[in-house]
């Protein structure tokens, strides 16, 4: 196979792969500290995800599965790997790409282009649901009305529901997301920092929402972000030039420009540098925490207005929407519960200064 232009120059360091003992090692695995070549890397990378899928019984033959696709690195690699594994191991799954168009000019419209390319490259049908069609508002319009305060609250609540609605439209049995081990470790820490014991108890589950309309699962739960990022760069299935077109989208959201400057994420990366296994250890801790079975789980009902699952009369999205439509955009934001206040505060600090978390755009809220 061709290595592409990228490796035209001489390799540095002559160490051999510790797995095949034949080829030159190309990376050090954070999980095992093994030095392995790119061919063995794909193999173990994909095999591990296969094992996670099988060991955790994530899918059943014949299921329709939507891949939440943002055009970013995680979901792009997930879509690729999942369709590969589906073919290779004959899972018998019908895979779909599901994207949410928040209506953010210059951000989402560009990243949706990436997803549309994936649609063609992997041959997976794509469904795009937009805030405009679901709620009658684009994020651009919402920000015009409410400014840059609390915009992430709207976006997060709307996105979560939009994914569920899109999944319903696609009539899928499951929704998979690209959350990786670093994301989950960060979520464990954030839930400790915020005092959110309920989320702490469920944030490490590989499948969530089994009692809800559409269960969600995270096949990358044990996959290091480093490997996900490096995967397309080393992937020999694409030549270097071809891969250019496949590049995932990595521009920051224009309404939350410092979203990735979080303390917690930086802390995770600092930890990884001195002890790579810390990321998996945090997940292990999250799984092992002794949290007594819940007595105070709110009763789940349905929103009287839209029918979406909700513990209140109206679901959060409907409350926010009502506020927008009546010109009272503060409605439904924070103040209801202490935890909301804390979360709100964490989010508020993001514009301009550092916050403790990195991705407040609803992605951590699973």
């Amino acid at each position: 196979m061709m290595a592409g232009e990228g490796s035209a120059a001489k390799p540095r360091g002559g160490r051999l792969c510790t797995i095949c003992n034949g080829r030159r090692a190309a990376l050090k695995r954070p999980k095992t500290l093994e030095q392995i070549c790119r061919e063995c890397f794909y193999e173990v990378f994909e095999d591990e995800i296969h094992r996670v899928i099988v060991d955790n019984h994530l899918f059943k033959r014949g299921e329709r599965v939507a891949i939440g696709a943002s055009g970013g690195k995680d979901s792009t690699v997930l879509a690729y790997v999942l369709s590969e594994l589906n073919n290779r191991h004959d899972y018998g799954l019908d895979l779909f790409l599901l994207s949410v168009d928040e209506g953010i000019t210059g951000y989402r419209d560009d990243s949706l282009e990436t997803v549309k390319r994936n649609e063609i490259q992997y041959g997976l049908p794509l469904k795009v649901v937009s805030y405009k069609e679901l709620y009658g508002w684009t994020m651009d319009e919402i920000v015009k009305l409410i400014g840059l305060k609390n915009n992430c609250t709207f976006c997060g609540v709307f996105r979560r529901q939009a994914l569920d609605r899109g999944a319903t439209l696609l009539k899928v049995d499951k929704l998979v997301t690209g959350h990786n081990a670093d994301d989950i470790a960060e979520t464990v820490l954030l839930n400790i920092l915020r005092g959110d014991i309920a989320r702490l108890s469920r944030c490490t589950s590989i499948t969530t929402g089994e009692d809800g309309p559409i269960p969600r699962c995270k096949p990358f739960k044990y996959t290091y972000e480093k490997e996900i990022v490096i995967y397309p760069y080393l992937n020999m299935l694409f030549t270097y030039a071809y891969f250019k077109k496949l590049d995932y989208f990595s521009t920051e959201c224009i309404y939350s420009p410092n979203a990735y400057r979080g303390f917690a994420r930086e802390f995770i990366k600092d930890l990884e540098r001195i002890r790579p296994r810390a990321i998996l250890d945090i997940i292990q801790s999250g799984e092992d925490f002794r949290i007594s079975t819940f007595t105070k789980m709110p009763e789940q009902g349905n929103c009287e207005r839209c029918g979406y699952i909700s513990s209140q009369k109206w679901c959060k999205a409907c409350v926010l929407l009502e506020g927008l439509n009546r010109g009272l955009p503060k409605m439904g934001i924070g103040r209801t519960r202490v935890l909301d206040n804390e979360r709100d505060k964490d989010t508020r600090q993001t514009n301009g200064t550092k916050s403790i978390e990195s991705k407040q755009c609803g992605t951590l809220d699973f």
Binding site: G195, F267, Q284, S285, D288, F289, N341
Partner: protein, 474 residues
């Protein structure tokens, strides 16, 4: 503040205040609770004249002691000196009484490192003892004895190769100034955990620590050895409780440390008011006090501390300390939130003072204790403890049964250690592991043998289960 935000689980030292004041104070304390979550600005407006938010009479610390305000201190600055002091002592006292930490018949050993936290612990224990003595002297029947207090310093100069003589002299002065009642001061080197002669001790200790290559692992092992040394002093001198100066800030760090090291299962054991895993129960009366508050008290009351040998933490622990520092700057109540979160994890059965005998003093303290502690079904005793860090072990998995029964010593040692100690402390290579094991003090290995037997029993049970229902699918 212990009651940093919202639910205010600490109970706001209600008990303490209801003893010496009526509803008025309670209301104020409550208001303070609700407001303390980042409302310095609001407080400032309501309190524009720089008066104490509690007594509303005296000037705040911020006004009277501008020199201490530069160093943070957050909400504490909005109290006057007296209210601040009584508030802090109130938290200590509440922790002591509601958990039955110190009873009149106790003989208490205070671990003193020279740092501010243990300095305050020592001060408060002394004040409590002093008051008890006064009451005793004044009472007619003298029925309630006064608890005894001793102080211990673990000299780590062998390990850190420094000279501790001057620091010990200073500590000696501090301890002797805290009289009456007089307190015995025990200065004991770490290597005292070995029961061989003194040069052999040092060699063993160095050999043990040198066998650990991970910086963080070495630091954690040293903490463990310190505890063993303290326990030994307590045991040999008839102490019944061991008081540590562990404060909220330190516990917040520990919560993150344990999480990062994969010790989520055992974490709850380490962060309660009481830890009776040890022969002499360990108690943490400063669990609800922030390090900033303790530092402030030391500087207000000119409590001397000896910081000469306070080692900066390293490796993973160092990273976490600086992370927590950043969090504190971003939000002063973050440390309390962390501890409050971890406080919701289910503790273990040994996280309360064990019930002993039938003596009256104990019953009296029982009556005073709050009954909220533990539901019995949630606190089943764990089967075994980690050889190194003494943390309760999860149920052993059955994957290594063969290896276990084929009985290599090294494999068996691994089996009685938690996964964190396996990774960061135990040497990987079998012969170095066996050497490491041989250098452990007897108090550790004796426990390990018990554990090993427990595990064997348990494994037999597991194997029986496996044989009887082989195809369960789980």
């Amino acid at each position: 503040m212990a009651c940093s935000s919202g639910t205010c689980q600490s109970g706001c030292y209600k008990e303490e205040y209801s003893v010496n004041d009526e509803n008025k104070t309670q209301k104020l304390v409550k208001a303070n609770c609700e407001g303390s979550n980042g409302v310095s600005a609001r407080g400032g407006v309501a309190n524009g004249h720089g008066l104490c938010i509690k007594c509303k009479v005296n000037e705040t610390i911020a006004a009277t002691h501008p020199d201490v305000t530069g160093r943070g201190g957050g909400d504490s600055l909005r109290f006057c000196t007296d209210c601040f002091r009584s508030n802090l002592f109130g938290k200590f006292k509440f922790a002591v009484t509601s958990n039955g930490m110190i009873t009149p018949s106790d003989n208490v050993l205070v671990a003193f490192s020279g740092g501010t936290s243990s300095r305050v612990a020592l001060q408060f224990v002394h004040e409590m003892q002093f008051r008890a003595q006064k009451n005793f002297d004044a009472s007619r029947d003298r029925s309630l004895p006064v608890f005894g207090v001793g102080v211990a310093y673990i000299d780590e100069s062998t390990v850190l190769s420094n000279d501790s003589d001057r620091a010990i002299d200073e500590m000696n002065l501090i301890v002797s100034s805290l009289a009456p009642p007089a307190k015995h001061f025990h200065v004991v080197p770490t290597e005292n955990i070995y029961s061989v002669d003194s040069t052999a001790r040092r060699d063993r200790l160095s050999e043990l620590l040198n066998a650990v290559s991970d910086t963080t692992g070495k630091e954690d092992l040293l903490v463990q050895l310190r505890m063993l040394a303290l326990q030994k002093i307590a045991l040999e001198n008839g102490y019944t409780k061991l008081v540590l100066g562990t404060c909220t800030s330190r516990i917040a760090c520990h919560v993150l440390e344990a999480t990062v090291k994969g010790q989520g299962f055992s974490l709850a054991a380490d962060i309660q008011y009481v830890d009776a895993r040890w022969e002499t129960p360990v108690v943490l009366p400063l669990r609800d006090c922030l390090t900033e508050e303790l530092k402030m008290l030391c500087s207000l009351d000119s409590l001397k501390s000896v910081e000469a040998f306070q080692q900066p933490r390293s490796g993973i622990n160092g990273l976490i300390s600086s992370f927590v520092n950043i969090l504190r700057e971003e939000n002063p109540s973050r440390e309390s939130t962390i501890v409050r979160t971890a406080g919701k994890l289910t503790p273990f059965c040994f996280n309360r003072i064990p019930e002993v005998g039938n003596d009256n003093s104990h019953l009296a303290s029982q009556r005073r204790q709050k009954k909220y502690n533990l539901k019995p079904n949630e606190s089943l005793p764990p089967k075994s403890f980690c050889l190194v860090c003494n943390s309760p072990l999860k149920k052993p998995d059955d994957t290594n049964l063969d290896e276990f029964y084929n009985g290599k010593t090294s494999a068996q040692i691994y089996m009685v250690a938690c996964s964190s100690c396996q990774y960061q402390i135990l040497p990987k290579e079998p012969s170095s592991l066996e050497f490491f094991y041989s250098r452990l003090p007897q108090s550790m290995t004796a426990l390990a043998k018990d554990n090993l037997n427990n595990q064997k029993l348990l494994r037999n049970q597991i194997q029986d289960c496996l044989l009887s229902d082989s195809d369960d699918g789980t």
